[in-house]
């Protein structure tokens, strides 16, 4: 499983906008590079990342070779009730990754 760092604030007020950040360690191989022996390194990028809040999908990114190596995404969700913020992703080789953090919502 690939390594990632996520930033989810531990607490937020109900209705507040919460900034989420995720960085995944991944080369995002374009498929256009060659190794030292002149062989093409096959394309392999994190192709889908889904963010779920309390089980429901709120954000999705479909990515390709145009996204920089070690992809980084920063976006918002609205704090509604306490629960889990969960990230799941998969690359072209089928390797999956996951990371999650709790978000406590105060009224």
């Amino acid at each position: 499983m690939s390594l990632a760092r996520i930033l989810v604030p531990p607490t937020a007020k109900r209705g507040e906008l919460v900034e989420l950040r995720i960085a995944i360690q991944h080369p995002m191989e374009t498929g256009f590079r060659m190794d030292n022996n002149g062989r093409v390194i096959p394309k392999n990028t994190v192709n889908t990342l889904i963010c779920r809040y309390n089980g429901a999908e709120v954000f999705r990114a479909e990515m390709g070779s145009g996204i920089a190596a070690n992809p980084y995404l920063q976006f918002y969700i609205v704090a509604r009730e306490s629960g889990n913020v969960e990230f799941n992703w998969v690359d072209d080789l089928g390797e999956k990754g996951a990371a999650s953090a709790p978000l406590q919502v105060t009224s």
Partner: protein, 258 residues
């Protein structure tokens, strides 16, 4: 023939005198000061910095048992945040056991083979970069303070000579760019003073983390000279000279560079 040699003599003498008196650039500036806004923004926020993915991995590896001895780094050195604090500012240094000049990468591999009883990590592997960067992180903000003494004087002198010797098809020495022309432009790049204080660092050009030796190899390639292998004696000696030359700068590991 004799005439030609005679012409070269004063020049050689001047070069020798020049090499014998190494100097530090004035005022001493980290490469970050020559970097553009994008690179600085990436470095200044720890979450934004892609280099921190490697230190996160390094922290995991620090606590994972490895090898026949079943020991982790933490088994001997405890919490890196206290045990490794201020350690990297003194490197490279001569290892008392082997009497050889050793950098952090070498020290980690020595621990692996001697104490953990496992294979050394390949230079430039993600694992070695992760551990080196994690150890370096514990000295971030501290002053580079490698000491030149009787034990490492010969290494220092060899490193210094590499720094001042013209090399490759472009016939340039390190000093020509990094002492005499820092702050000036090569295409859209600003020439830095060539310090090692951010390494291992994430370079946009590499799209990954890399060691100081990789960066030095890139410079050798830049002047179209033969690249010494990573971990080689030449690069270790040069690393020591660079550490002396950047005495007073703050450790930036894990840095970000263009």
């Amino acid at each position: 023939m004799i005439l030609r040699f005679a012409f070269a003599l004063p020049w050689l003498a001047a070069m020798a005198a020049y090499a014998a008196q190494p100097f530090r650039p004035e005022p001493l500036k980290s490469g970050l000061e020559f970097s553009g806004a994008e690179v600085r923004a990436l470095y200044q926020d720890d979450f934004s910095s892609p280099a921190m993915l490697w230190t996160t991995r390094g922290e995991k590896l620090w606590n994972e048992p490895a090898g026949a001895a079943g020991k982790s780094c933490a088994s001997c050195h405890q919490d890196a945040r206290t045990g490794m604090k201020g350690v990297s500012v003194k490197y490279p240094k001569v290892d008392p056991g082997t009497a050889r000049l050793t950098n952090i990468e070498g020290r980690i591999n020595q621990c692996r083979t001697q104490h953990q009883q496992t294979e050394p990590l390949r230079y430039e592997s993600d694992e070695l970069l992760a551990l080196t960067a994690y150890v370096g992180l514990q000295s971030r903000g501290q002053t580079v303070s490698a000491v030149i003494d009787a034990q490492n004087r010969r290494n220092f002198e060899r490193g210094r000579d590499i720094f001042y010797t013209r090399q490759g098809q472009m016939n340039l020495a390190c000093t020509h760019c990094h002492d005499r022309n820092f702050g000036r432009k090569l295409l859209n790049d600003t020439i830095s003073q060539g310090h090692g204080n951010p390494y291992p660092a994430y370079r946009l050009e590499w799209q990954t983390m890399g060691s100081l030796h990789r960066r030095l190899r890139a410079c050798f390639f830049g002047v179209r000279a033969e690249m010494p292998p990573a971990g080689s004696q030449e690069l270790l000696d040069l690393e020591l000279f660079l550490a002396w030359r950047s005495q007073g700068l703050k450790v930036e590991t894990p840095g970000v560079r263009k």
